[in-house]
Amino acid sequence: MQLHRTLVSKLLLVVLLMFGFGFALVPLYDVFCDITGINGKPSATPATVLADNIDTSREVTIEFLARPNKDMPWIFKPEIRRLTVHPGEIYVMNYIAENPTSRMIVGQAVPSVSPGQAALYLHKIECFCFTQQQLAGGNNMLMPVQFYVDPALPAQFSTITLNYTLYDVTASWQPDTATAKSGE
């Protein structure tokens, strides 16, 4: 019986470790995607290092998309659809948000970049997606994103699409911790 007990405890340990491994896949996946940028998830923190040169010889087209989630009543769209940029130069681009309802709603934008591998090269210095945004009913606001394209962007990318999906997070919003700004 002792023989069985030792082996069973070892096997149970494997079971426990694998159960933990299933959950460990969640942060592992995020880390892996952060390093490789393969799922088009851009960094959620502001870029601190700026490019030291502006590559005026090269033009990259940035396309802007915006989509409110199906449960989000805001009207949400980019100010312009398309912008041609030089890698290294800093640009500011505005998104327009309007809350057509009569109540205050808090929104969180989640960015996604296509093609996914280009996500690593789109650096945001300031973005409305870094914080939650609150908007009183009937109001509208401009939400800016300040960004530059890394001059190291591989040559095969000539167009990058930046998409924001806007979610209603009013239910989980906490006024004290959120650093949201009202309309500018």
């Binding site: 023989l3 069985h4 082996l7 069973v8 096997l11 149970l12 494997v14 079971v15 426990l16 694998m18 159960f19 491994f21 299933g22 959950f23 896949l25 969640v26 996946y29 995607c33 490789t36 393969i38 799922n39 088009g40 998830k41 959620a44 989630n69 969180q108 989640v110 996914g116 591998q117 999906t165 979610y167 997070v169 989980s172």
Partner: protein, 527 residues
Amino acid sequence: MSAITTEHDDHAHDHKPSGIKRWLFTTNHKDIGSMYLIFALVMFFLGGSMAMVIRLELFQPGMQFVEPHFFNQMTTVHGLIMVFGAVMPAFTGLANWMIPMMIGAPDMALPRMNNWSFWILPFAFLILLLSLFMPGGGPSFGWTFYAPLSTTYSGDSTALFVFSVHIMGISSIMGAINVIVTIWNLRAPGMTWMKMPLFVWTWFITAFLLIMVMPVLAGAVTMVLTDKYFGTSFFDAAGGGDPVLFQHIFWFFGHPEVYIMILPAFGIISAIIPTFARKPLFGYASMVYATASIAILSFLVWAHHMFTTGMPVFATLFFMYCTMLIAVPTGVKVFNWVATMWRGAMTFEVPMMFALAFIVLFTIGGFSGLMLAITPADFQYHDTYFVVAHFHYVLVTGAVFSIIAAAYYWLPKWTGYMYDERLGQLHFWCSLISVNMLFFPMHFVGLAGMPRRIPDYALQFADFNAFISIGGFLFGLSQLIFVWVLVKCARGGVPATAQVWEGAEGLEWEVPSPAPYHTFETPPVIK
């Protein structure tokens, strides 16, 4: 299929309670094995009847018999029942019955746990089946329960689905631990690792796969549960999660899972072919190594289910080549089976017929798997009936045929009587013809672009689908012959000898038929 005591000795534990208590409280590996097998058969018919509903609806284009939502519940629950309720318990039942006898052990190592791992299973499926009667219906997101289908868009039956999968998982893990401990600790003196029958070897490796991936499945369903009911965002982009992550976690379980359903089949075929070819198995050691290689590779290929989610080229190439690499050890196995038959004195009893059909048809399923492994081609095949054809060839004419072959092969050992060979042959030929009518044309409609998991389809697929449905009904009806054979054999017939088959070798053929309630209480001598 119940074990009947032919010996009676004085040990107190030999006493069997009568009636239902015998089955509720039994710790005997043969009783538990029989219960697993009967349970799997019942589930096979239940899951099969759902397949009949699916084929009935698809008999003609347009909506005839069921609502799309109910159709989706049928495809989902059909898949869940066949995978977790039919194939896996059938293999566990065979393991319970045969492994102790094959290695000269008196019973499984952990008999009480064995009782538990069986008896929680009916409750798991009761929960799953009852969820079909809930308002809003049962699970309808496919057996793969992809997020957000299972989180955002599912009904409240999802909670029941999650708990039933948890119970199934616990049952499989306990069964697997039991198999490992039995094989590790209870082999008779002289039964060295490389003398073990291949069925024991393949199950040993399968059990390791089970304890490594079933906990990951438990994690995945738990995340679905908390995402749906407790506000977590594992798979919800709004909260920083990612629905693609679900697919990675699911298929990290899911791909080894498909080998869990086929490795024991390899063991069964490796037992049957030498018996009826009257030659020892060709390349025993290479069979063991091939099985282990397949098991290891199975952890490195999960993303080939997700080529269309958008992966970097390097990752698709890695998963494509690893997937194709699996064809090598699998090819070794097929080669060895064919080499075993080469110049053998073959006879073609029913187990051999099913084993031969397995080799040919499983190989067809393997080839379509290779086609699906080619990333650029997969973009066309993905989520079409070609995929349905592929996995039904490996699971029905693969796993299920091997289980049927095993049932015919060991039935005389279990009941003490020979089955009706004429009826068995009828069952085989009906199954063989109908199963190919059922699944082969699915390749064609799939290549032509018919998507899977739909209750209606474009008109150009009508003729093929009518033909497929007829094949489906015939295959379903053919399995009734199987039940007839089983019942007839359990009730009586020509008494079987201890060896049963002329060419059979191994410890299980040295005990009388039917196998006594207790076998190998003193370890046998291994030559």
